[in-house]
């Protein structure tokens, strides 16, 4: 098991960094950023990761060399960089032509953006609009693990005997003692490098009592039960 913790780097010039990567800085700002790039290796590392993140996100629509867990590829809006200003100029021109035409254009733009935002939300992961703050870390033990009612994210560590590098997915079910219906059932979970499964779980919505947590390996790798643990909600 590997646990990695990172201290939070502070980048007070976050907006400046973004402007730089978008090619929207003034010559003075550009010089300031580039001199820091040369003088500060940590800053350079941060910039490289930011650029890679941005380009990687923008390229999610493009075909990749290797398939990856059957995730859906989507066509997305082309990346805008310095041409953003040209669009702004174009929008101003349209405004001059007529208010009605401009409103129609604006509405279409908003619709497209909303549609885009919806499409990125449709990646094949479970959705739950719960803020992620407290995290419960639980190992596969026989004693009941107490879940605080304030818990919103559950992290379950698979037993070390499980092949966590397996690209397969997992299904996690939580059933209250004496009940046949699962109180919580989620599939398509993918193990992280440290062998954990993470999911949103609003423990405040579970009735007090004892629960059994079961993790199964999903097809195509099989349906074997990977772990079972006891939970307690007070």
């Amino acid at each position: 098991m590997k646990h990695t913790t990172m201290t939070r780097p502070e980048w007070p010039d976050d907006e400046l960094i973004r402007k730089y990567l978008n090619g929207a800085v003034t010559p003075d700002e550009e010089a300031r950023v580039e001199l820091r790039l040369l003088d500060d290796p940590d800053f350079l590392g941060h910039m490289e990761r930011e650029l890679a993140l941005r380009d990687g996100l923008a390229a999610l629509s493009e075909p990749l060399a290797e398939p990856h867990r059957g995730a859906t590829l989507m066509r997305v809006m082309p990346r805008r960089t310095s041409r953003r200003w040209q669009w702004a100029a174009a929008a101003t021109f349209v405004l001059a032509i007529g208010l009605l035409a401009a409103l129609a254009t604006l509405k279409r733009s908003i619709d497209e953006r909303n549609a885009l935002a919806m499409r990125i939300a449709q990646l094949d992961m479970p959705v739950a609009n719960v803020p992620i703050v407290p995290v419960s870390i639980m190992r596969g033990v026989s004693v009941a693990t107490e879940l605080p009612r304030s818990l919103t994210v559950l992290r379950v560590y698979l037993p070390e005997t499980t092949t966590v590098v397996d690209p397969g997915k997992y299904r996690l079910t939580i059933i209250q003692d004496g009940s046949k219906q699962p109180a919580f059932d989620i599939s398509d979970l993918v193990a992280m490098d440290d062998g954990s499964l993470s999911m949103t779980l609003n423990a405040g919505k579970l009735l007090p009592g004892r629960y059994v947590l079961i993790v199964n390996d999903q097809p195509p790798t099989g349906k074997a039960e990977v772990m079972r643990a006891v939970l307690s909600v007070l």
Binding site: M6, L57, L60, R80, T81, A117, Q122, I132, V153
Partner: protein, 202 residues
């Protein structure tokens, strides 16, 4: 072996003075310290890995020659000196190669141009990074957080606008951004370690 002799503690002024005495270790040190940043800034402006390598090589040839001759008036401004040379070299090389595009030329997609100019190795690296980014996105369990990242990095919306439209607090925004960045950093680090292991084994 050479790396063990390199000191990170020398100031730019001290480094310049050592190069003026033809200290080869100092020449290696200035390369190790400044070449990655110079490559980054040239690559950002050109999208061309090979050109960036060439520009950096030539920049150091010119810089070392001038430093040996003691022509840097303010040795504390070593990074500005190197950047200035790099920008001039880049401009000249781009002109020579006929790659200087007029501003606002929208005839080619920026990604297409960058991809065409990349070496096979750079393309492989970029592909791996894209896989890591996808993994970071997939690991975000909340759809709204994925939307947030997308709009921040790709559609370039302002943070305030994103927070307002997605009904997020600024704290939540910062937290998700920090988590995504941290996770990506870890994955990148793991990838580099794995690559180094493969190189060591081969």
């Amino acid at each position: 072996m050479l790396n063990s002799l390199i000191s990170d503690t020398d100031s730019p002024r001290r480094l310049s003075e050592r190069i003026a005495t033809c200290d080869v270790i100092a020449e290696r040190e200035i390369w190790m310290r400044y070449a990655p940043g110079l490559r980054f800034l040239v690559r950002r402006q050109t999208g061309d890995d090979e050109l960036a390598q060439d520009v950096v090589q030539e920049t150091f040839q010119i810089a070392l020659m001038q430093l040996r001759e003691g022509r840097l008036e303010n040795p504390d401004a070593l990074s500005g000196f190197l950047r200035g040379i790099a920008l001039k070299v880049m401009l000249r090389m781009r002109r020579a190669a006929g790659k200087e595009k007029p501003v606002g030329d929208g005839s080619l997609n920026e990604h297409d141009v960058a991809d065409e100019r990349q070496s096979p190795f750079a393309r492989t690296l970029q592909n791996e990074r894209r896989l890591l980014v996808r993994r970071v996105i997939e690991e975000l369990p909340v759809a709204r957080d994925r939307q947030m990242l997308w709009r921040y990095y790709v559609t370039e919306d302002d943070k305030d606008v994103i927070c307002k439209q997605l009904e997020l607090s600024v704290d939540h925004f910062d937290r998700v951004l920090h988590r995504a960045r941290s996770r990506f950093a870890v994955l990148l680090s793991d990838l580099r370690t794995a690559s180094a292991d493969i190189i060591d084994e081969s």
